[in-house]
Amino acid sequence: MFSLINNGKRSGLAKATAILATGFGISFGLCGLNAIVIDSVQSNGWGFLIVTAYLELAAMIICAVGLLIIAVIAIFRALRRRKSADRESSQP
């Protein structure tokens, strides 16, 4: 993910945002509900699906943190761009 953000191309942040937002969207929907439902399916041989509940939880946390980091990077980049643009415009 960090190589995606720092790949030097402008599409890096957008790519990472798309992937993380999609991941967050998938995991956010039924998470929590799954943890409750897993209890009922464990008894009829579908207990292995508990993995999906944990995966959802992990994906939710990772994607949310990732999106926050991207937001900070995007703000930082925008500020730096504005600073350098101001500097260029103030030069005689």
Binding site: K15, G25, G29, C31, L33
Partner: protein, 244 residues
């Protein structure tokens, strides 16, 4: 027919839906080309993903307004649902906003039309498998194909109806895409057809109503009006460009 619900399969099929949709998009971009540069295309995809995330969540929560109190916490609490209509409308609005900021004039949605049909259809398998927990089941019916989702009441399998509808719509859009067509028309056709479909099929869902229809249907009405208004604007633009 009696279904043994497996809500945990919902995210699995939803993930399949996204992956298959993305692979189809890559394939159609490779074969038919793209009017946008890589940078711009990823910006559009990112805007669509974030807009869809917010839109699906907001409408999913608004859907429950008639039966539960809404707080700011319900926006960020896990569970509580998402809706495809909210995702489509949110994604569409976000893309239009980003296009305006980046001065992108071209219509950018055609490449997503067929992949969206297929992706939503695959995701709907998960909704069907999830049973009552997903909240997308239909009203009770005595028709022979009614499905018992685990509560002993046969209901309309509206998720399966939707899969059938999306299969036909996807095929029609795919055929249309192979012929010469105006840019953006495939995506607009998908939006119009899907919103109209949901406006109709949601009468078979036991969701709480506000002034006769549910919140998703109100969103469909708003989306169809917005689509019609923007179609008029496009027609006016085309007419003004055409020489007399």
């Amino acid at each position: 027919m009696t279904l043994t619900p497996h809500p945990a399969l919902h995210p699995v099929f939803e993930t399949f839906g996204y992956v298959i949709g993305y692979l189809l998009y890559r394939r159609s971009r490779g074969s038919s080309g793209d009017i946008l540069e890589d940078d711009q295309r990823w910006l559009i995809i990112a805007a669509a993903a974030v807009g869809a995330l917010v839109g699906s969540r907001v409408l999913g929560i608004l859907e429950q307004v008639p039966v539960s109190r809404i707080t700011w916490a319900s926006l960020v609490a896990p569970g509580g649902g998402k809706t495809i209509v909210g995702g489509l409308l949110g994604g569409w609005i976000a893309v239009e906003v980003v296009k305006r900021f980046r001065h992108i004039q071209s219509r950018t949605g055609d490449l997503f039309a067929v992949p969206l049909c297929v992706g939503i259809a695959v995701g709907r398998i998960g909704c069907f498998m999830a049973g009552l927990a997903d909240g997308t089941y239909g009203t009770p019916t005595r028709l022979p194909w009614g499905v018992d989702y685990g509560d002993g009441i046969p209901r309309h399998p509206v998720q399966l109806y939707e899969i059938g509808f999306l299969a036909v719509l996807g095929w029609l859009l795919w055929k249309w895409g192979k012929r010469p067509h105006a840019p953006g028309i495939l995506f607009r056709a998908l939006m119009a057809a899907y919103l109209a479909w949901r406006l109709g099929i949601d009468f078979l869902k036991p969701d709480p109503h506000v002034a006769g229809i549910n919140m998703i249907q109100w969103a469909c009405v708003a989306g169809l009006i917005a689509l019609g208004a923007s179609d008029l604007r496009i027609m006016r633009e085309r007419r003004s460009v055409q020489p007399n």
